[in-house]
């Protein structure tokens, strides 16, 4: 399945302390309708040429709800107009802080076929919110109100929780809080990623993140039916149990090249949201290239060759490779200045897998079928 991150707007109504998105002024701030039309036309062309494919259209930002519900309604209309034969293979999903969600958004979101929304939540106060210091209570009320609105309309929601230095004191408490909030799973616990320019007081080291996950995993694993789907635990367990890397996220798949794109408000196409923010892996402008032409971009060769380079280099002999593939290429670039190197979070992954996952489960991560 191909994925398009549609950076609907650079604007955001929040200011999360760890947000990677650079809120520098960008023209245009929102994706113009003309660019939206072009994107949809490109998607249609791609899906017509690849009848076996589906396209995940991920609304992202900034905060995508800032563009107003009319924009979503317009997208549905344009999709009907420009993708009459392929719209059934376009799967829309939304990444939003939800604080602007209203009843009026529901119909347009459903018209686009959305069944679930991704969001995020911080347990610790003053990491996100409005004003200074951030009023996280007011923010959380708005977020929780929106989750209730989604539930009343039969829409699912899940969250990303960002593990920061303030999370480390009570990993099990964090797990319980998120499990209680989501009532049966549906959350990811990702490490904080801070740009060099951002304040570093929230930063966590690889070992700290691994130990956080390990403590939470020790609670999750024996009670996994109670807690439900928690990432990265559920996917890792599923893949190890199946003895195959069959359901890996984009950063672990080793196959994001050529099937993952980001379009910003100016129509610039890059590999993903993070590459867009860093100004790397830039593929051109959607007004001038098609997705198929992007597949032939010479920059793709470097990404496609990454697995082989890692097998020979940084990841030679690593028991985790089939489940990790050296992690996100962007993390490799940030840590080592090159996409041909492994993620800077390698130590965390290995420590979690070998010091916690294997002993706790009694399963081995070795010998997993590599499907990249």
């Amino acid at each position: 399945m191909a994925t398009l991150i549609f950076k609907t707007t650079q604007r955001c109504n929040s200011s999360c302390a760890y947000c990677e998105a650079i809120h520098a002024s960008c023209e245009p701030p929102d994706v113009p309708v003309g660019t939206l039309r072009t994107v949809l036309a490109r998607i249609n062309g791609y899906l017509l040429r690849h009848p076996e494919e589906r396209m995940t259209f991920t609304w992202h930002g900034g905060e995508p709800l800032l563009v107003g519900m009319e924009y979503f309604e317009l997208t549905a209309e344009l999709q009907d107009e420009l993708c009459p034969e392929t719209k059934g293979r376009i799967d829309h999903c939304l990444q939003s802080n939800l604080t602007l969600l209203t009843e009026e958004h529901i119909a347009p979101l459903k018209r686009l076929g959305m069944t679930s929304v991704g969001s995020s939540y911080d347990i610790e106060p003053e990491i996100r919110g409005w004003g200074e210091p951030p009023d996280s209570a007011a923010y959380n009320r708005a977020f929780l109100r929106a989750t209730s609105l989604l539930e009343r309309h039969g829409l699912l929601w899940g969250i990303i929780y960002v593990v920061t230095k303030r999370s480390l004191a009570d990993p099990v408490g964090v797990l319980h809080t998120l499990s209680n909030l989501t009532r049966g799973g549906g959350f990811n616990m990702n490490p904080v990623v801070l740009s060099r320019e951002a304040p570093q007081e929230l930063a966590v080291r690889s070992v700290q993140y691994a130990d956080f996950l390990g403590a939470a995993f020790a609670e999750w694993y024996p009670h996994r039916e109670r807690h439900g789907r928690v990432e990265p635990f559920s996917s890792l367990l599923s893949n190890v149990t199946a003895r195959a890397g069959q359901s890996l996220g984009c950063e672990d798949s080793g196959s994001c090249a050529g099937r993952h794109w980001n379009v910003d408000p100016a129509g610039n196409v890059s590999q993903c949201g993070r590459s867009c923010e860093l100004g790397v892996l830039q593929w051109g402008n959607i007004a001038e290239v098609t997705f198929d032409e992007l597949l032939e971009h010479r920059g793709m060769e470097e990404l496609r060759g990454r697995n082989a380079a890692l097998r020979e280099g940084d990841c030679s002999g690593c028991r985790l490779f089939a489940l990790c593939h050296g992690g996100c290429p962007i993390d490799g670039y940030v840590a080592h200045g090159s996409f041909q190197h492994k993620t800077g979070w390698c130590a965390a992954r290995q420590r979690f897998a070998f010091e916690y996952f294997e002993p706790i489960t009694g399963l081995s991560v070795e010998g997993i079928e590599d499907r990249a």
Partner: protein
């Protein structure tokens, strides 16, 4: 979603308006209980149970073996000493009764255990207001006894209720055992005004909808707020949010003095509820002709 069950006083002018509806009839006088079957038949009430309040402030039970199979929730007056209960046991054994016992009352928890061991179904009434007076260690012992029975005994709620009503992840609103879960019950006063819970009724907080429009209640803002109230613990740092046992208590019994003595108990209740479910799944079901 199904219609509400009405928690209603024994007030004859209300009965025609409750025709065909499921009701918990709250009775303040024991002599009225024998009239209930007639009332149910005349007005075609769907009787969930009779909740008999005891007005005596010194221990005495007004019960009658003639009540037969009528589903009865009997509020037990304090102080609850087994020796004082003993003369009534034979009569109680003839009734289809669940004994509602104030968990914070002196002697309540040990007496509850004895009653359950004799086969009586009991329900320990817990509340946030009385949580500071509760013997939490004794409550934990009772929960373990309820959910890990060495021998068969009478059910002990809210523990048994939690075990049988939890969803696939163990979440349950325990107020249902007290007829106070707003997703299931609505309280009606003598004037026919509806409230979402007993506390609202006491505070004279009423819904706009009358009995006849109870189906609209689920669309009301007040109902939605009641359904979303559980999310309040996630607004700001709250020990309830981090508690493993929260999914079976929803923070409803957390002591107001800020001492989370409840956590140990409800952690145990959660484990016990899961153990109960596992035990039930393991029971082999043989086919029946």
């Amino acid at each position: 979603m199904s219609d509400f069950t009405f928690v209603a006083p024994f007030h004859p002018p209300l009965f025609p308006r409750l025709a065909g509806k499921r009701v918990v009839l709250v009775v303040d006088r024991a002599d009225l209980v024998c009239q209930v079957p007639q009332v149910v038949g005349d007005h075609k009430l769907d009787l969930a149970c009779v909740y008999l309040r005891q007005q005596n402030r010194e221990f005495a039970l007004e019960i009658d073996a003639g009540w037969g199979g009528l589903r009865l929730a009997l509020e037990m007056p304090p102080p609850l000493r087994f020796s004082a209960l003993f003369p009534y046991l034979e009569t109680l054994a003839q009734l289809n009764v669940r004994l509602y016992i104030d968990g914070a009352a002196p002697g309540a928890l040990p007496t509850t255990r004895i009653l359950a061991s004799l086969g009586y179904s009991c329900c320990v009434v817990l509340s946030r207001e009385k949580a500071p007076q509760l013997d939490w260690d004794a409550l934990k012992d009772l929960a373990v006894y309820a959910l890990y029975p060495p021998q068969p005994h009478g059910e002990i709620d809210p523990f048994a209720y939690v075990a049988r009503r939890g969803d696939e992840h163990g979440f349950v609103d325990p107020r249902g055992v007290y007829f106070d879960d707003p997703s299931q019950y609505v309280h009606v006063d003598e004037e026919g005004r509806l409230s979402l819970c007993a506390a609202d009724q006491r505070a004279r907080v009423f819904l706009d909808e009358p009995i006849e429009e109870q189906a609209q209640v689920r669309e009301s803002a007040a109902y939605q707020d009641a359904m979303d109230a559980w999310k309040g613990v996630f607004v700001e740092p709250n020990p309830c949010a981090r508690c493993e046992g929260w999914r079976v208590c929803q923070g409803l019994f957390a002591p107001t003095d800020g001492q989370p003595r409840c956590q140990d108990v409800f952690r145990e209740v959660l484990e016990g509820a899961e153990h109960t479910l596992e035990r039930q799944k393991a029971v082999k079901q043989t086919w029946r002709p």
